[in-house]
Symmetry: C2
Subunit: 504 residues, 2 copies
């Protein structure tokens, strides 16, 4: 997917010899380059570093996330090089030694990346992706990794939430016009599909990612004809096998519905069936019941009803609870921007865990922001019913699964401890996806990622999918890791007097 086919013949793009935005080495914060410069200057850049990428809170106040964006992140890392123009630009900033800039030309990512497979269900506080590489390699890729994985995980999770409450109805992504930039739209379409969206309206996403594309018509279509019936007929004439009619340009019940019924009859007379009608304003629960009843009464029980107009998982849930009769939910703005309660961004972070064989951590005044030091491993338990049951983060040196009765602790609150129960089967849910800078797993089809996400969502403990105040899926620290963390905190705090508290 890095190298899609050209849209225009080469002669049209002859002068557009640019690195695509998403592959540029400059897609980074300046401070990464300043730090690289420093590490290089002080001869530290080749020290082996371990960084973990994780988030501290599930998006939207929910209880899980769907991990997405990995494929794009790996593409980015694998091909990353500093070409002449990037170096020339950095030179123009007058911030960097010439010898450092020369060294950048030899920069390659040569490290290892472990990650949950894309489409996995993941939780707060566990290392989702771990980079092991020379310090200046691991540091540089932080911004792009976070940019790609934060956003796609946010959108995939939103899609999964919409699907989880749609009661078997389809969710489709209709957000291109409200997405955050052209590539934001494209990434959003991809991520929404992984999270469970059945299709997108974004044609470019269809082309680039092979996603199913769908669409109806706009109000402008109806307004372009002398009257609505003429407009509906004209549309159906052209797309007899795939006609969805938008009912609300004039008035949904008084005009759109009877005209759609007329066209449905006419289509049937010609041997095809109207596919769907779309409601885009007004009281969707009420209108959908009226429209369903009218379609059924007229002998069209198979015509689907699609809803649009600022939908979100909360709106879908509320429509269903009010008895709406909807088959397809076209979700736009809220899906592609990851909008809503606690939304808009996933606060994923990328923290140094080990350098040159020594565990590292960020302390700070805020305990919830204290990172987990050292190389770690994630263990995931399934119950005997194949339900996901418990994730444990252990020291990387722990080669055996957690044991029954082990006392584990809450990552955000070490006073909350539990003993691991019997009856769990443990596995390592992460895999090595890059080794020596080269990908070692094949790209997966988006359909497979969607299938993985759907499968894992269906195996979550009851209540975990709930939109608000969900059951908290257990993520714990192993006893050894908790001990190691406390020891490092004590060492770092030694000798600190004054504190950062405003009440001190």
């Amino acid at each position: 997917m890095v190298v899609p086919d050209s849209d225009v013949p080469p002669q049209h793009t002859g002068s557009v010899q640019q690195t695509p935005v998403h592959l540029s080495p400059l897609l980074t914060d300046l401070y990464q380059l300043s730090m690289l410069h420093g590490y290089w200057h002080h001869g530290m850049h080749q020290q082996q570093a371990v960084f973990d990428l994780y988030f501290r809170r599930s998006p939207y106040g929910g209880g899980y996330a769907v991990w997405a964006g990995l494929e794009n992140a790996l593409e980015y890392v694998e091909q990353l090089r500093f070409g002449t123009d990037a170096v020339r630009y950095l030179e123009s900033l007058n911030l960097f030694d010439a010898a450092f800039l020369e060294a950048l030309r030899g920069w390659r990512f040569s490290g290892r990346i472990e990650s949950f497979p894309e489409g996995s269900v993941v939780f707060a506080h566990e290392p989702l992706l771990t980079v092991t590489a020379p310090l200046w390699e691991a540091q540089l890729i932080e911004t792009a990794l976070l940019n790609t994985l934060n956003f796609q995980t946010l959108v995939a999770t939103k899609a999964a939430r919409c699907v989880s409450v749609a009661g078997g109805g389809s969710v489709i992504e209709f957000g291109a016009r409200r997405a955050q930039g052209p590539d934001g739209a494209l990434s959003a379409s991809r991520a929404a599909f992984i999270g469970g969206a059945a299709a997108t309206s974004n044609v470019l996403a269809g082309q680039r990612y092979g996603l199913p594309v769908v669409g109806t018509h706009a109000h402008a279509w109806v307004e372009s004809f002398p009257d609505e019936l003429t407009a509906f007929r004209a549309y159906a004439e052209l797309h007899p096998a795939s006609t969805t009619l938008l009912l609300d340009t004039v008035n949904t019940l008084a005009s759109g519905l009877p005209n759609a019924l007329t066209v449905a009859q006419e289509l049937r007379g010609r041997g095809t069936e109207l596919r769907a009608v779309r409601l885009d304003s007004g009281d969707l629960a009420y209108l959908s019941r009226r429209v369903r009843a009218a379609l059924d009464a007229a002998g069209f029980p198979d015509v689907k009803i699609m809803a649009s107009n600022d939908l979100s998982e909360n709106v879908i849930q509320s429509l269903i609870s009010e008895g709406a009769r909807l088959d397809i939910y076209a979700v736009g703005t809220q899906l592609v921007t990851g909008g809503g309660e606690g939304g808009g961004a996933l606060g994923g972070v990328y923290k140094l865990a080990e350098l040159d064989g020594q565990p590292r951590m960020k302390l700070t005044g805020d305990p919830a922001k204290t990172s987990l030091p050292g190389r770690k491993r994630v263990w995931r338990a399934h119950s005997s019913h194949q339900q996901l049951a418990w994730d444990v983060v252990s020291l990387g040196s722990q080669e055996e699964p957690p044991s029954v009765g082990e006392r584990v602790s809450d990552p955000a609150n070490p006073l909350r401890r539990s003993r691991l129960p019997a009856g769990l089967s443990w596995e390592n849910p992460r895999q090595t996806v890059m080794e020596a800078g080269r990908r070692v797993t094949a790209p997966e089809a988006l359909e497979d990622l969607q299938r993985r996400a759907r499968g894992e969502c269906s195996r979550l403990p009851e209540g975990t999918l709930r939109l608000l105040n969900p059951h908290t899926y257990r993520v714990s620290l192993s006893a050894d890791l908790q001990t190691a963390r406390e020891q490092l905190i004590s060492r770092l705090e030694d000798g600190l007097g004054d504190t950062d508290s405003g009440t001190a």
Copy 2:
């Protein structure tokens, strides 16, 4: 800016002969192409159409917006072509006639675009941009126009809001890692600068758009050295003239501050000055006062204090009201995603206003969503003190400015009428930016757009900049336009019986 210099030598991108995402004709919703097909099939595609782009509510519950993204939108429209691969993809969908696909190869935008200049302050309900072109040209570009202009206007407005409460402090954009995709980050950096951000951390945005880039260092820098003081010294050694030290890796007051003071003294001994310190956690109001006092007492009144950590215009305002002593506000997530109250997306729409000489409108059950029919003109009044005072949308045929005493009405509520006062000077704030498909205005420097935005914000009526419940800037419909709208509504409603109301 469409054709930035290459980052890598051509041989590296030889196989990446793709149209950049933001220039593809497939960056559109499928239904646009379905409608184009239909217009073409029914011989309507060359009918002259007028579409208006506008929004119905200012973002974030505020009273204005800063218009941004125009340059990118015009670049897109001017170069838009259907190349072989785009056509081949559309062919593969089996939705379109071969003759239509052949016709698409000849598709060009040949129309006119009028718009507020980029960086203008704009308001709800007024046509911000008007496209006059053959129907199939005007229809196709809807998705890309909305995508580009909605998002950049959202971010530029957020930046302006942050600047408006920063009391002379600088706002800088630090959001790349939380932005919505790589290009979302780039667009956001551009728009934030227009809205008043002084600089960005995004190096790619620096290169592509010539923006000032800034940065400090991360916690990982400190953790990579044996201790914080060593880390600070190492950083200052490399960037003596531009050192900003992050204070909270261990403990802001107990460790970061005294170590920064040591380094500040050492730098001064070598003839340079520490530039700034950065606070990234804890009670920023309290910590900034303590740090300011310590810096002042030690003889460093010119060292700036920068704050980061989930800032927004509301947080900045609250910090200042609590007596924080901050000079630089690094705003990330909230700025680049346009997050917060009513944020996440600007609900800009693009509505057909006239076709083939006849006014058109969307009626629907929701009066606030009823569009303004016909060709229109925008008039903007300045008071004698050069304050922006009043915007009036009139019929396009009105060649004279609105007159004193004219009865104008509220776009969302025709019952709210006012008479235009004396003492106003009227002008046409929009300009023709594209004619016959070619741009007729030169691209403007981003500094000029920022200057325009800052100037217009400073000339808004008192209270309009307020973050919440601002003074409502007057935007009215001329008497003639209101009459024309009512007549068309009556005509459309003729003969409608049943209604869409849930209580009917």
